[in-house]
Symmetry: C2
Subunit: 438 residues, 2 copies
């Protein structure tokens, strides 16, 4: 339903500084949304769109009178501190605003003088979570991750029988999701070594990140009314980068029989910028099942999903240890992966989630699940990279890690790139581990 | 921290009709909260307190000018359509309003004439969910339920090793929780018989209820700041009756390895009236562990919890089949149970939930988990009563059930009763199963 249109034209150039760099995250073909304000100010947060090295303050742009009258209610919704109202408007409204912004930000627009004062340098803003998250659901869409983790627990039978049929997911904790910059104390909880007679209480010793995408729901559905796969993408507002922190030792002891709980609810961190599905149209890919795998059940299958259901988004995870930070060294790369490897598409997640009648609401968050690629070095968690903590990995500066240490900063990035198309980026999600509270 | 005080005095009598019946749910010692409006009206919902056969409309009572000036902000918060703001005020405010209402509703108050017009007959009101639920967590606190369900899957080892150490819980779906009167279509989903080679898609065949209490959080805690067990009850606003519907066949196929998902997110129904923890003070009981069971780890242990951590709340589940409804027959009782049997207390649930730093927010909902008693006939689900669907139960009118059929109405009630104390009730939660959508 989202089509290539003039907003995707690779020839478009913007008058805003930094927007035309070939390696930039935020060219005029991207136009992602966030909620922000000038750094250190007490001003209200407001909706904004990234362009080059700047954010266009939508509240200021609205006040500048540059939008057509019929679009003003849409801009007003997008300029709010929380974007749930804008997300609820649906794809026609999102597309109309995208088109208007694309035209206003192009080289040669007569509105440049009016809009220039509405730009804030990205280096001088601070973010908040752009939407209230009613419910957060974490999926488990990487078959490579599921197999690698399963192998640690069940060497002979790593992948459970339901995996290739059911888009596995579980309800997560919404209250502890926050935006990039979130710091958190290493969580405490019950731990039990396999050979210990009883559990003990203390700080998590196997703290891990999970390299995920976040999927943000736009228009919801009423309770009792499933969303067919043909309509599923109309309910998706956009995508961000998502670090779903995990306490592996707490998880191992608590998770049977009802799933992860406190091992996941101490913090989860999203990137501030949400890239719309429309911006991702040039990076869609066919969704192909191996001949050896079962075809999706009919409710999870459609022509569009087969032809263009996948999204070719590259993911990257980096680590800056406390020692690196002290010496001013930048983060070192741990792994790269791609959402192209996902066993299920975004549309399949939406449709499966609602097939029982469950209602989604604007601003709901889906995690994609840890995105690990087919190669061991493409793993999206330390649990996998360190073979369950048995083989420490050596960083570029000689430090070693099995799991995260206090003071470690994890950086995750994503981008899309393809021949003949302008690269678009997601920015990054950055978060630092603080010591456990005494 | 909640103490016996003049509001609990068994000698108190109210001037409101029906409040002094010994078998009533809503004597003046109870004073539970709900959000309601005149039935069939388009008026705004508003906070109310149950008394006898009536609800005291708090918005009307506020307008009648019967409250002291310093209490008016509290009443205003309690009179809103959603009570989250009132819940956030904390126990001092809740207690102050309870005391004022107790005095205003006693026989002989000079305010009777001013308040009488603020009463609405309970038979003429309709309810909404009294609070926005940010997050819903379902616990699993009945060791009898955990053992009975575990026995169906693992006859030799019914209870998992973590059960007696960890207050097991999982994140639930908040969006599909609604108030008594909720109807829902039988959910569809993936089903797989144990002997089938592949799953198929269709309506759930093993639809079940779960007899639970709902626990509603009042004051929250900031992310990263656990709530010690000594303070835990100060964060609890009150308790209601809760039917956590379950699709057993969907659950069996989907739940490994991350827990229940679509088997639980199609509907969950709470009773409209929330009984405060303060009203429950006369029904507190000691929390005693069998000598053969491990003592709670220190973070889950306190003098108060040992001496008075348990709540002696009686639960009851009834079924009215479609055939009974057609013939005008009332619901027949399926089982009774008590929250006294819970393996974990409310305070232990709160403290465990936050020990990793997880933040609770006003209006968050905890399910207690299915409350089954030690005897087989005290089971809180059909899964247990029918031995996993193998032995149909026979109802009073001769009908049989293994799981729920279309048109079945499930009624759950709760009350507290003890020698020398006035009985208090929770009202009921009622909900009907509609056929699957074509």
């Amino acid at each position: 339903m989202y089509q290539l249109n003039e907003t995707h034209d690779p020839a478009l150039r913007s008058w805003v500084a930094g927007a035309n760099r070939p390696d930039g995250d935020f060219p005029i073909q991207n136009l992602p949304f966030a909620s922000l304000r000038p750094m250190g100010s007490n001003q209200a947060f407001r909706g904004a769109v990234a362009i080059g090295d700047h954010a266009l303050d939508l509240a200021a742009a609205l006040a500048a009178g540059v939008f057509d009258a019929e679009l003003e209610p849409v801009v007003r919704a997008a300029a709010q501190p929380k974007l749930n109202g804008f997300m609820a408007l649906g794809p026609e409204a999102w597309s109309a605003l995208r088109l208007a912004l694309s035209r206003l930000l192009r080289e040669g627009t007569p509105q440049q003088a009016a809009l220039a004062p509405c730009l804030l340098p990205l280096s001088e803003v601070e973010y908040q979570l752009a939407h209230n998250i009613g419910d957060y659901t974490d999926f488990y869409t990487s078959v490579h991750h599921a197999t690698a983790v399963g192998r640690l627990f069940r060497p002979d039978n790593p992948l459970l029988p339901n995996y290739k049929w059911v888009p596995i997911g579980y309800h997560g904790r919404a209250s502890s999701v926050d935006v990039s910059g979130q710091t958190f104390h290493r969580p405490c909880g019950q731990l039990k070594a396999p050979d210990a007679a009883e559990p003990s209480f203390g700080p998590c010793k196997r703290l891990d990140y999970e390299l995920e995408l976040g999927i943000i729901i736009g228009k919801g559905n009423p309770l009792g009314q499933p969303i067919a796969i043909e309509q599923a993408e109309q309910h998706v507002f956009g995508v961000c980068v998502f670090n779903d922190w995990s306490a592996r030792d707490i998880q191992a002891w608590e998770y049977q029989p009802l799933g992860p709980f406190l091992s996941k609810s101490f913090a989860s961190t999203v990137s501030p910028w949400i890239v719309t599905l429309e911006a991702l149209v040039p990076f869609r890919a066919g969704f192909v099942r191996d001949a050896s795998d079962p075809q999706p059940l009919p409710y999870l299958d459609s022509d569009h999903n087969r032809q263009a259901g996948a999204l070719d988004i590259q993911l990257e995870c980096l680590l800056q240890t406390g020692a690196m930070a002290e010496r001013g060294e930048s983060a070192t790369r741990l792994s790269t992966s791609s959402f192209r490897h996902s066993y299920w598409t975004v549309a399949q997640m939406v449709t499966h989630h609602t097939v029982n009648g469950c209602n989604l609401q604007p601003g709901d968050l889906f995690g994609s699940g840890t995105q690990s690629g087919p190669k061991p070095e493409e793993a999206g968690s330390l649990l996998e990279l360190s073979a369950g903590g048995k083989q420490a990995i050596t960083l570029a500066n000689g430090e070693q890690r099995t799991f995260l240490e206090d003071g470690d900063t994890v950086v995750m990035r994503a981008h899309c790139q393809r021949e003949g198309v302008v690269r678009i980026g997601f920015g990054e999600v950055v978060s630092t581990v603080l010591p456990a509270k005494a």
